[in-house]
Symmetry: C2
Subunit: 392 residues, 2 copies
């Protein structure tokens, strides 16, 4: 009934000994339909940030559902959410909402094009901003001739390449995640001075800076990941964690982009559904109250440090990259070819999953504020046995 069965990013772990369907999810755990319970270090690939079934979020959602969800008019919660987001995100003056992260990245590029009157988009090699044609690699099935013509792809941390692209083309915008979190590769932080250099180059040429904070948003800094790195983008995209699992995304922007945001045509039937907006207001408030980034950073650091120590004890080298609340793990082994090293790493991940700690081999993992000391301790026990199993 469904091509590929489980499709999209959920297809990745299928067939490698991982569970396929959840039955229930609560807090930091989910239980699959075979009644196995897992500590969930994927957090639904980001959305779950406060824990599954968070009482305050679910109450806000249920209260709004009793009043109405998608109605012929907007709900006042639209304004409440815009105010909340503009208040907390550094340097932005307005917000617009959609459903998918890609709604917000697509809108960001449209706004940047409208603001600059230019077409070209500079992105990062391996940077992911959704599955629209222009965002996909040109040779992917279904991507039309010419769909990528306006896109220039450069290496991460290469400010010189950005300057060259700006010199060579009429560039409307530079779109990038705040740090580089591709799949199947160590994640990379910005080099010292990288974002400052990007900012200077883009300002000088009137190129809009779009931060795709869909994945990292609220896990580095509640004021946006650009606040963590100390630079000032024109447009910032949010999604994933914004509604703690309720489907919503947002584009925020500065006053300099406001007229362009008013000029472009952007809408969707489901964009005005009020329940995810109410859930998002409750999520953001709760994140602020508990100082969520510090909590997650601490949990992520302790988990990663514990895993590295265990790896060492077993004679392995576990490389941790990315940000503390979104760790990417890789067992490095210079004695093995790249493919064999990844296979060994995947065997370790599989043993962790089968032991009850849900991690992925090829994608960064996610920490939530619902993860407890017990979750860390249990995960380390599981990981310990998993490292042990690699030697047998």
């Amino acid at each position: 009934m469904i091509p590929n069965g489980i499709y999209g990013h959920y297809a990745g772990p299928v067939g490698v000994g991982a569970p396929i369907f959840f039955d229930t999810a609560f807090g930091s755990h989910f239980t699959d339909i075979d009644n196995n319970t897992y500590i969930d270090w994927m957090c639904a690939y980001g959305p779950m940030i406060l824990g599954y079934g968070h009482p305050a979020v679910e109450k806000a959602a249920a209260d709004q559902a009793a009043r109405g969800n998608t109605v012929s008019l907007a709900s006042p919660v639209l304004v409440e959410l815009a105010e909340q987001l503009v208040d907390m995100v550094d340097g932005v003056d307005w917000a617009l909402f959609g459903k998918n992260g890609a709604d917000s990245t697509n809108l960001a590029v449209m706004v940047a094009r409208a603001a600059t009157g230019r077409s070209k988009v500079v992105k990062i090699d391996g940077g992911y901003h959704g599955t629209s044609g222009w965002m996909q690699e040109p040779d992917r099935p279904g991507v039309a001739a010419g769909e990528r013509d306006q896109v220039i792809s450069i290496a991460w941390n290469d400010a010189a390449a950005l300057k060259q692209a700006i010199a060579d083309h009429d560039v409307a915008c530079f779109i990038s995640s705040p740090y580089h979190h591709p799949v199947l590769a160590d994640n990379e932080q910005p080099a010292d001075g990288y974002w400052a250099e990007v900012e200077t180059a883009c300002r000088a040429a009137g190129v809009a800076i779009i931060v795709d904070d869909v994945r990292a948003g609220f896990r580095l800094d509640l004021a946006g990941s650009h606040a963590h790195y100390g630079f000032s983008p024109d447009l910032v995209c949010f999604g994933k964690a914004l509604g703690n699992g309720h489907p919503i995304a947002a584009l925020t922007g500065t006053d300099s982009m406001r007229q362009a945001a008013m000029d472009v045509f952007y809408t969707g039937t489901q964009f005005f559904s009020a329940v995810p907006m109410a859930a998002a207001v409750a999520t953001l408030r709760e994140l602020l109250v508990i100082g969520a980034t510090d909590v997650m950073t601490d949990v992520g650091r302790r988990l990663s440090a514990g895993l590295v120590d265990l790896a060492n004890a077993h004679g392995f080298d576990l490389v941790v990259s990315g940000s503390p609340a979104m760790p990417y793990y890789r067992i490095a082994d210079p004695s093995l070819a790249r493919r064999e090293a990844f296979a060994q790493h995947s065997r370790w991940i599989k043993a962790c999953v089968q032991g009850g700690a849900y991690l992925l081999s090829y994608h960064n993992n996610f920490v939530s504020v619902a993860h407890t000391d017990d979750d860390i301790a249990t995960t380390l026990d599981i990981a310990d046995r998993a490292f042990g199993s690699l030697r047998t």
Copy 2:
């Protein structure tokens, strides 16, 4: 805080004496934040089909919310929904899900391109399939040079133009709504034999037929609008009414498109949210149990017939177009220029809205199964006074 304040399609009625924010919505009514209650003939622009806050749908949603919404795994309700949809929609063999109608139209075009190895898309002038760049008019702000290069636009009901386009270009697909429902113009049914001719031309050339049933889906026929008109598309897009207001969209397709659907890269973080899927299963079952299309067709016919009679009694000519459950209204007046005639029509709509019947002047309206005989009678009373007010 929000560019344009109320944006997108919700901005249309703003500033013409219409309410802006809802407070509560139930059944066929909503109440605005100033405590005015309206009979809602827009149905959230389509999603509301069983009535706001429908008990069976909301119970299914709440039960699923208690188990989990967006989790690191899919829910079995994904399979249940695919089975339900494939069972009820004529001629389709599989389903994939997203959030927005545009997720499903974008995916449909990707699948058609992957299946055919061609790039060109034929669409209908004024046909609406979302706000992605390739779907927008080329001169809209933010639409890049070249984004429409692969799109050929032809007039509705012009099978000869379609044949010519196919002869002149490497056409991957023809995308169209099942009947023509543009804004600001009478809606148009397919001419006798039109869809059969389209089918023959497309089959002969290996061009995929995509029906965008996002707006009309389930209001003409529960087996899909193509079943109503008696033709066999390759791909059918659903959205809007699928979840009775819970954000979800679907692409369904035939076996001939299955491999292409497996080959394309399509995903989204929010695509696997289980609550809207549970709501959609409940919505579809309820629609089948009550034979919803017949109910809505009957309500729509009675409403439209009553309005036409009233118009006549007041000396006006109310033109009704579209399908019975999605009527487009226009007061025709050959004595006035087009703009003045529309202004007169808009004054009538405004008087209806201010009287408590929420209609739109420039867009088709929507009927739901929640609309009662009382709703029709009250709306006709309101419309009667509104026609009267036009003469004063």
